[in-house]
C-alpha cells in the first residue's frame, strides 16, 4: 500500500519528537486544553451577555470587542498546539470521525461567532432583534461549543487504539 500524506506527516522529525518525547506531548496537551477552555469561556461570556444575562452590566458592543480579541488569541494558540498533536499520529486522527466532527464544529463555531461579534454593535441599537432571536442565536452558539468539547473527548473512544 502506498504511504499517504498522513504517513508522511507522521514520519516527520517533529512529529516523532512529539509522539515519542517525554514532555512534548503532555506539554502540548496542557496548552491545547487550557487554550480551549479560555476560548470557550470568552465565547460563552459574550453569548450570555448577548442573551441578556450580562454579569457586569457591560454593553454588547464592549463585550463583543473584548470577546473578539480573546477568542482569536486563544484560537491561534489552540490551533497551533492542536496541529502539532495531530502530526504525532496523523493517519489515525485523519480517519477519526470524532476528530472530523470536532474540526467541522470549530469551523462553524468560529465563523458564526466572528459574524455575530462583528455585527453585535449594530444589533445593540436595532430594536428589531427581539429577546427570542438573541436567545436562539446565543443558545445555538453555546450548543456548538458544547459539541466541540464532546467531540474532542470522543476522539479517544472513536477507535479502540486511541485508548
Amino acid at each position: 500500500m502506498e504511504p499517504s500524506i498522513w504517513d508522511w506527516i507522521y514520519d516527520l522529525r517533529i512529529s516523532q519528537m512529539i509522539a515519542e518525547g517525554a514532555w512534548q506531548f503532555p506539554a502540548l496537551e496542557v496548552i491545547h486544553i487550557y487554550s480551549m477552555i479560555f476560548l470557550i469561556t470568552a465565547v460563552a461570556l459574550f453569548d450570555l451577555s448577548f442573551m441578556g444575562f450580562s454579569v457586569g452590566g457591560e454593553t454588547i458592543s464592549r463585550a463583543a470587542k473584548m470577546a473578539l480579541r480573546w477568542t482569536w488569541v486563544c484560537f491561534g494558540i489552540n490551533a497551533v498546539s492542536g496541529t502539532l498533536i495531530f502530526m504525532s499520529r496523523a493517519p489515525e486522527y485523519a480517519g477519526n470521525w470524532a476528530f472530523q466532527l470536532k474540526l467541522a464544529l470549530v469551523f462553524v463555531g468560529m465563523a458564526a461567532h466572528t459574524i455575530i461579534l462583528r455585527k453585535a454593535a449594530r444589533w445593540e441599537t436595532a430594536p428589531a432583534m427581539g429577546f427570542g432571536s438573541k436567545l436562539l442565536m446565543g443558545g445555538i452558539s453555546l450548543l456548538i461549543w458544547v459539541g466541540v468539547i464532546t467531540a474532542s473527548r470522543w476522539i479517544a473512544y472513536a477507535i479502540p487504539e486511541f485508548l
Partner: protein
Amino acid sequence: MRQKALLGLMIACGLLVVSGRLLAHHSAAGLFSREEEVVLTGAVKVWRMVNPHPALVFDGKTDAGAVETWTATFNSVADVRKHGWTRETFKAGDPVTMLGNPFFGGQKTIFPLVVTTPDGKKHLMRDPEVNKAYAEGAHRVQ
C-alpha cells in the same frame, strides 16, 4: 477592573476543569478483566510508538482458530522503551504472539501481559509483581 475579573474567571474555570485530568489520565483497571486471558498469534498490521499509549494493530489467530484484527494497547512510550522497542521494532507482516487480558464488552483490544517480538524474545509488560508471577508460569491460558 472588568478585564481582570474576566481573566480571573477564566483561570478559575481552567483550573477546575483541568485539575482532575492532570491528577489521573485514566486507569486501565476498569477497562479489562484480570480474570480473563487470551493468546493471539498473528501478523502485525500497524505499529504506533506514540503518546499517550503506544498501540500495535495485528491480525491475531485465537486458540479456536478464528483470525480477527486486534489492537494491543501499552502503558506508555517510556514503558515500551525499557524493552528496547523503537518505531522499527514491528513492521507490517512481522509475526507476533501476545498473551494478555481482553477488554470488556467484546472489544478486540488486549492489554498485554507477555509479548513475543519478531526476534523471538519474550517481554513481560506489566508491573514487577505481575511480571514475576508470569515469568514463573502463572498463566491461566496454557
